[in-house]
Symmetry: C2
Subunit: 316 residues, 2 copies
């Protein structure tokens, strides 16, 4: 182990993390990288780059100095109760990741607001049939979660002319122009009131698990559209099916589900009001992961804490 040649382990139960290797080699020629199946001497490992890392593994790396998520979320890391608590866990930040999320959510909001599923179906059938046009300023979009991604999405939707309301656990000092803020449990009813499209971009924590449930849906106007780009565990899946069956919700766009990939026999696939996409709303670029991992490792070695350090207590 030397400062010049860091040793980085790429750890995931679900992804083949070798897609990161070219970016690490470009960022640090001659870097020593290891994959889960061939970690060799675990005492070498300085940093672990993780997506759903195997339970208990991080705790077996004696000289680990940094745990780096490849995503904006870190719930998949804190899910391991045996995590070495003295090692900082950092989330990834990436302008491409932000841009990807903005594009996904903008598409999903406009798609239902402007009745594109009807136009697509009509085009396939040769029907020239107009749907009602509601100006975006009269369409209220609620963004639950005003972290870096939530804030960027709220700002972009406001730029597109939507009436945007945001909700966060604690009050935010600065909100983008055109975004009305709400916060805390006390602010939730006002936030939900009158929302046409609800976007979930919360971090996954013990507080937010199951946030999207029957009680919450009942506070939305009848016929709302739900977009979940947070985590599958934010949503009580049975409650979504019930809300669609009753008409309380008109549609859902889900980029994330409890189990991923979503099993072939899952009811979500069979409901035409639900669009499931395979967790593609956004992706951190390998280059950004490699650069941030190496920069964060240098900071930690110099006794400093990266800005992107998270805490188990916050969950983000």
């Amino acid at each position: 182990m030397s400062a010049a040649q860091p040793c980085v382990a790429l750890l995931s139960q679900s992804l083949d993390m070798r897609y990161l290797v070219p970016a690490f080699e470009a960022a640090c020629p001659g870097i020593d990288w290891r994959v889960r199946d061939d970690l060799r001497d675990v005492a070498d490992i300085d940093a672990a780059v993780c997506w759903q890392p195997p339970q208990g593994l991080l705790n077996t790396l004696p000289n680990l100095q940094l745990i780096q998520s490849i995503g904006a979320g870190v719930d998949h890391i804190y899910a391991d109760a045996t995590l070495p608590e003295h090692v900082p866990v950092c989330r990834a930040v990436d302008t491409d990741m932000t841009a990807g999320m903005i594009a996904y959510v903008a598409w999903a909001v406009i798609n239902r607001h402007r009745h594109f599923p009807d136009y697509v179906a009509n085009s396939a059938q040769g029907l020239w049939r107009e749907s009602p046009i509601v100006p975006p300023g009269e369409h209220r979009v609620g963004v639950a979660g005003l972290g870096r991604l939530g804030m960027a999405v709220a700002q972009a939707l406001a730029t597109l002319g939507y009436a945007v309301h945001g909700w966060s656990r604690s009050p935010k000092d600065r909100l983008p122009a055109g975004v009305t803020g709400h916060h805390g449990a006390a602010g939730l009813p006002d936030f939900l009131h009158g929302i046409d499209t609800l976007v979930c971009l919360l971090p996954l924590t013990d507080e937010t698990r199951g946030f999207l449930n029957t009680t919450l849906f009942a506070q939305l106007p009848r016929g709302s559209h739900l977009i979940n780009v947070g985590r599958g565990a934010h949503l009580v899946e049975a409650d979504l099916l019930a809300a669609l069956a009753s008409g309380q919700l008109a549609a859902a766009t889900l980029d994330t589900t409890h189990v991923e990939p979503l099993p072939t026999d899952h009811a979500f696939w069979r409901d035409p009001r639900i669009l499931v996409t395979p967790h593609i709303a956004t992706r951190t670029s390998a280059t950004a992961v490699a650069r941030q991992t190496l920069a964060n490792l240098n900071l930690v070695r110099a006794g400093q804490m990266p800005d992107t350090r998270t805490t188990r207590a916050n969950g983000y």
Copy 2:
């Protein structure tokens, strides 16, 4: 006829213009309005509000002072060769109209760039299958036409992170951040080079009729996506079918066609690479039409020219 009670004729061959009446009555209680089938004494008529007005009719109104389009385009008015040339023809301007256009184009760009037609099809079939993710900064969008709508669309796409290039007949002094400008016939090859998505928002003039043709498509990279939100006559329809058949174009999103509604037996309906929408990208609000008509009429009566006056020579 009096200044207090203007007489407004609502003239269209294709639309039932009575949808405008409540907005006119709200803007000017007691207003005298006439529809095409019941114009009564044509000498009463001060202003004509038009969408594809019947040929030759405007020339029969002896005291006409204003011809007001309900759209941003005026080609449907200048199509009448007998137009009284001394009467100003004004286009409509409306922030809701701009917002509607931005939303339509943003949806259409993201839809193909991020492979949503595949995700929608996969979701209906229970397939969890990822498509490639290209950052928006690496997806080049060309906006042909930098009038009010084109400029707003270019700016919004740049805000969403796309690499935006704009093309206009004459050079533009100020372009939004992130938009690279090109102009004139000499600037067209550079503009078209490397475009992944081409958006047509040109005015329809003798110069731009048939702009979207085989020669132009050949200057785009293979596999581009065409979005036409200008006018149907910008596109040579047979050339689009040929470009899709050869693979030179991968897809087209058309909000406008030569004949509207598009006839049931038209080939566009049968090509799954073409999405046809029924001229709904945007709509001027009735309130905006009523207010602008009355304000423009007052200006003309006071001997002033509205900013939105167009000329036949420009075509906009």
